[in-house]
């Protein structure tokens, strides 16, 4: 799988580097997988529009073909099957229920941000836009073209299933990211589900205490502080964070395995004299 991703981007070495490490998250999340709770269809979900224009389809198809050729070249068909059966990265943007957050909404559909997503192998941008749904809908429709699919809806009670779609799971999907307003309810729910998170404080809010929380989270390494106007950097940092987290988990697992091995070794060493004593005793009995 890593081989495939490297063949895709031979020119952009930095991007492939992060991608290559980040890809390992898939294996990790198998350990950390929490049973997904939000499987039931919610009734509150009124407006959900799937925007997959023909143009986007055309953009997508050659990309898939490219993948195929590259993987054929590398003679790695098994990897291709696994890659295509897995869901791609999702970027889920949420502004919460209480207030709108237009600056964030307009930022995520700028060409730079969309290209950044495409470069990092995201294939779906899902946006929960709250009260600005109609405005955002118009903005998306007026976009000339988009390298990723854009889905959008106003609000739903069951946000958990959308968050989980951004969480990496072994041989199910690649880790994505949730870009959220800095409301504590949203942050807590996303972090509880162990989904990579970028927190974007709303600078127009009173006394801007949201920035405080975002800095706190950044310093503890739980989330990334996304600043308006610099969201592409935040996405890259989030992917790095996922990769680091993954490496740490791998290391931890390796340590655990080593400990287990040493235990087994001790057990075997302890066993040998024990069996001998039993045999000795038997012999004594026979004698």
């Amino acid at each position: 799988m890593d081989h495939l991703t490297t063949t895709k981007h031979t020119t952009d070495t930095e991007a492939t580097h992060t991608q290559k490490i980040a890809g390992q998250k898939r294996d990790a999340s198998a350990i950390t997988t929490v049973s997904s709770q939000g499987s039931s269809a919610s009734s509150g979900e009124g407006l959900e529009i799937r925007n997959e224009s023909k143009r986007e389809g055309e953009v997508k198809r050659p990309k898939l073909g490219e993948e195929q050729t590259s993987s054929n070249r590398s003679d790695n068909n098994m990897a291709l099957i696994e890659e295509t059966s897995m869901e791609g990265r999702q970027c889920f943007v949420t502004v919460g229920a209480t207030a709108g957050f237009r600056p964030l909404l307009s930022e995520v559909i700028t060409p730079e941000f969309l290209n950044c997503l495409a470069d990092n192998h995201f294939d779906l941008l899902k946006v929960q836009c709250g009260e600005d749904f109609e405005w955002f809908d118009e903005q998306v429709k007026s976009l000339p073209s988009s390298p990723v699919t854009i889905e959008r809806f106003a609000f739903t009670e069951n946000m958990a299933k959308h968050y989980i779609r951004s969480r990496g799971e072994m041989s199910v999907r690649m880790p994505g990211v949730v870009v959220a307003h800095a409301g504590s309810g949203t942050i807590l729910e996303v972090l509880r589900l162990q989904v990579p998170l970028v927190v974007v404080p709303n600078p127009t809010l009173m006394d801007n205490h949201q920035a405080e929380l975002a800095q706190e989270l950044e310093s503890t390494g739980d989330a990334v502080y996304g600043r308006l106007g610099k969201l592409t950097e935040a996405i890259a940092r989030s992917l790095e964070l996922v990769a680091q987290d993954e490496l740490r988990k791998q290391q931890h697992l390796q340590d655990l395995r080593n400990v287990e091995k040493s235990f087994q070794r001790e057990l075997e060493q302890a066993k040998v004299p024990q069996t001998e004593t039993v045999q000795d005793r038997r012999q004594r009995d026979l004698d």
Binding site: G96, A97, T98, E157, A182, G183, S184, G185, T186, I187, L188, E189, L191, R192, D207, H209, Q210, E212, L213, E216, T220, D222
Partner: protein, 268 residues
């Protein structure tokens, strides 16, 4: 003479309230004193810290005030973190009318607790939900606000003094007459409910050792206190002002660091 009578009654009432207020604060045990330390055999809770063992008490009655959005999410998390299955616990949730999302979350939490103790197992305790009127609706003109505040105050008094139905006829029913602890984390309704509880205590309508007010500052605040938090701290209504960041407890005297109770899963 009517005016002078009103003024006299007002002065007497005012003096009485002020006296009772400070008398109650004076009699209150100092924060950080020995009372927060586990008394009898401590039980370690999920977070690993030690809490007092309450299994042998006849009645434990908590009132939780759920507010909007993030407040509710944090409060639900706090309840989950502090939950231990005991048959002697009653939980009451106070929610504003029209706040369907909080109502749904409270019901979901109770359903989860019930599921954890199926059949005859009564360790899930009992619970009920009280709806009170919002103190001020969005876009409501300001001059009507005092009246609606009064109405919601009456609703709050009702929610604080009404005995829990599932307990009234059972053993130790009297123990559930008034809540032991009121927990809030900052919604507007929370302050009104706590103020009403304080007034009820001032006028001897609720015993002083009941309806203890616990204010938990939201986890989102790490360097500054919210307005509600400052209000609770300054007025002395809250028996405990808990904060979830150590840095905040150092800045605001009188507040106590209680650990990240609404983000417990982040603890490493």
């Amino acid at each position: 003479w009517l005016i002078s009578l009103v003024i006299t009654v007002g002065i007497v009432l005012g003096t009485f309230i002020v006296y009772r207020h400070f008398e109650m604060i004076r009699r209150r045990q100092k924060p950080g004193g020995s009372w927060l330390v586990p008394s009898n055999t401590p039980q370690p809770n999920a977070a690993g810290t030690q809490v007092p063992n309450t299994t042998s008490l006849p009645a434990i009655y908590f009132t939780y005030i759920l507010g909007s959005g993030g407040h509710t999410a944090e409060m639900i998390e706090t309840i989950k973190q502090s939950f231990r299955g005991q048959a002697n616990i009653h939980r009451r949730y106070i929610i504003s009318i029209g706040d369907t999302s909080s109502l749904g979350k409270a019901r979901l939490l109770e359903a989860t607790i019930k599921d954890a103790y199926p059949g005859e197992d009564d360790r899930a305790g009992t619970s009920d939900i009280f709806l009170i009127r919002r103190a001020r609706k969005v876009h409501q003109p300001l001059y009507t606000a005092p009246f609606t505040c009064l109405i919601s105050a009456f609703h709050a008094a009702n929610a604080l003094t009404r005995m829990p139905n599932p307990r009234s006829t059972k053993d130790h029913g009297k123990g559930f007459r008034y809540p032991h602890v009121i927990v809030t984390n900052g919604p507007a309704n929370g302050f009104i409910v706590c103020l009403v509880a304080h007034l009820l205590k001032i006028f001897y309508l609720v015993p002083e050792n009941r309806a203890k007010v616990v204010y938990i500052e939201t986890w989102a605040r790490s360097k500054t206190m919210s307005l509600t938090g400052k209000l609770f701290l300054k007025t002395g209504i809250a028996d405990v002002v808990g904060v979830q960041h150590e840095s905040l407890a150092k800045i605001f005297k009188g507040s106590q660091y209680i650990g990240p109770v609404s983000a417990g899963f982040l603890r490493r």
